[in-house]
């Protein structure tokens, strides 16, 4: 509460405060989690299995009911908004798996994701195809025929089609080869540099920490620690407790 009005607040794009949320009313998975995403930065959320990372992203996206706490996006309260309104607020969400429509072609996937009523749909599409030439080549193919890495890029392209200012990414590296993981994460970096803010959940702690700006560690539905990713990465105590100890340093 003290930080309100601080000059750097203007850079806060999304702020979730004291979120309590879960699939079943009396069984919260998140128990008062607070995170902030900064403009043009990659904010990383890590933690052990069951920490509530994905639930946090889904709660922000309106897919998991929030029983307490607020979500604020660019000064607007968006707590518990309808998922289909996300895009119109300027938020995109890339789910962990099943994040493309296999039975639609690549072009149809993108057409669907394009912001309705957006005047420059064609321009957006051209821009996306320039960014992802592999998708442009296969645009008439069924999305189900894409490889894992290409699917992830299509999912990201679908998120970008709505011209969002914030992207929520839930483990984009899940099921990908190390090489594809690297490509996807590097692309996230490129997007952030271009001014899109990213809230990223990742299991691939090592690579993700190198690339992100700020990092939150969650456990058992609560905030544990947070700070600039580089600091946390080099903090031996954090490394020992949360990041799997020796494994991190030796790599």
């Amino acid at each position: 509460m003290l930080i309100l009005g601080q000059p750097w607040m203007t850079n806060v794009v999304l702020e979730a405060r004291e979120l309590t949320a879960g699939y079943v009313p009396d069984l919260p998975i998140l128990r008062g989690v607070s995170v902030r995403a900064m403009r043009g930065k990659i904010t990383l959320i890590i933690g052990p299995n069951g920490a509530g990372k994905s639930t946090l992203i889904k709660a922000i996206a309106g897919l998991v009911p929030i029983s307490a706490g607020t979500v604020n996006f660019e000064g607007t309260d968006i707590t518990g908004l309808r998922t289909d309104r996300l895009a119109s607020h300027g938020i995109a969400y890339v789910p962990q798996n099943n994040n493309i429509f296999r039975s639609l072609t690549i072009r149809q996937n993108l057409d669907l994701a394009l912001r309705r009523g957006s005047a420059n749909g064609v321009a957006v599409l051209d821009h996306l195809f320039a960014q992802f030439p592999a998708l442009a080549e296969k645009q008439k193919d069924k999305a189900g025929s894409l490889s894992g890495g290409q699917r992830q890029f299509l999912a990201i392209a679908m998120a970008l089609a709505a011209e969002p200012r914030l992207i929520l990414m839930d483990e984009p590296s899940a099921g990908l080869s190390p090489k594809a993981t690297q490509e996807v994460l590097e692309h996230a970096r490129v997007l952030a540099t271009s001014g899109v803010s990213i809230l990223l959940v990742e299991q691939n702690v090592n690579q993700a920490m190198r690339l992100s700006d700020h990092c939150y560690i969650l456990a058992e539905g609560r905030n544990q620690i947070d700070g600039p990713s580089d600091d946390l990465r080099n903090d031996s105590v954090v490394g020992e407790i949360y990041l799997g100890g020796r494994r991190l340093r030796s790599s």
């Binding site: 289909d84 895009a87 039975s103 669907l112 912001r115 309705r116």
Partner: protein
């Protein structure tokens, strides 16, 4: 044999129309709607009402469109019946299925749909009487297609087939060319991802009922043109259209179309080898065969 094939194609044309709506509902709302066939009856009977109304208001509309037994009045009645049936489907969902959906599990919906089927079927019986009715009292003379061997085809049947194919083509264009169509397919494949991509789920479900009801109504009218209207026609149609969705693969519109024709043709070809009394069992046999060799149907995908 060829006659059976032709009859099968004609049976297939209305089964397909009925199966399209059923497969969409089954896939998107995830329950086997046993009351879907009653939408066919509802459509057929509301067309009967509008037909009488039109002929009463403008007697010239009641003239036959030779060589069809069809009248302008009935043709005009069809879109009205589509609207009435579509809205009825929507209302049944709003009043009954949605409440059950909110309270219970998916299987409660199957029970509720059986209950609705009983209610709708028997209310139709109470209103229109239990005896069969026809759109036109005139006998439509069959055209002889070929003399050797003798193959007969009624002009009405040609109309039914052509009209059904046109409707399917329109639906195909909508599904494959418009964002609305993509949204429908997206919801069928993955409802929550569709929402993430800005699709309004409740509204899409509404459209699914409207489309399913409208197509069912046409299917009902075509059934009535090919046979006769009886209040229990839904009872006889429910298994064939379910068989069509399973043969095609639940959720696949194209599968439903193909499945409808396969079921129609199989039921008529079966007459060559089986006594006609066994015809009602043919859809069941097809279901069993499909489940044994290709459980997810021709176009279906495994989905938990």
């Amino acid at each position: 044999m060829i006659q059976n094939l032709i009859d099968g194609v004609l049976t297939g044309s209305y089964l397909s129309l009925g199966a399209i709506g059923l497969t969409l509902v089954m896939h998107i709302l995830r329950f086997a709607n046993f009351s879907h066939a009653e939408l066919l009856s509802l459509g057929a009977y509301s067309a009967l009402v509008f037909d009488a109304l039109m002929s009463g208001l403008v007697p010239t509309l009641a003239e036959k469109l030779a060589p069809l037994s069809l009248t302008w009045a009935l043709i005009i009645a069809i879109p009205f019946s589509m609207i009435v049936t579509g809205i009825s489907a929507l209302l049944i969902d709003k009043l009954i299925f949605r409440r059950v959906r909110e309270k219970g599990q998916e299987l409660s919906m199957v029970f509720a749909s059986f209950g609705m089927a009983l209610i709708v079927r028997n209310i139709i019986g109470l209103i229109f009487g239990l005896s069969p009715q026809l759109y036109s009292k005139d006998i439509a003379f069959a055209m002889v297609l070929s003399l050797d061997p003798l193959i007969l085809i009624k002009p009405d049947q040609v109309f039914v087939l052509v009209a059904a194919l046109i409707l399917m083509l329109i639906l195909h264009l909508v599904l494959s060319r418009t964002t609305f169509g993509y949204a429908l397919r997206a919801v069928a494949e993955n409802p929550s991802l569709a929402q993430v991509n800005g699709v309004n789920l409740p509204r899409t479900i509404m459209y699914v009922w409207l489309i399913g009801g409208a197509l069912a109504s046409v299917a009902g009218v075509f059934y009535g043109l090919s046979h006769q209207l009886i209040p229990v026609m839904g009872r006889d149609l429910v298994l064939p259209i379910f068989a069509a969705t399973i043969v095609g693969g639940i959720g696949s519109v194209y599968g439903a179309v193909l499945g409808g024709f396969i079921v129609g043709i199989a039921a008529n070809l079966a007459l060559v080898v089986l006594p006609s009394g066994y015809t009602p069992s043919v859809p069941f046999l097809l279901i069993i065969i499909v489940l044994m060799i290709r459980p997810h149907g021709l176009f279906g995908e495994a989905r938990a």
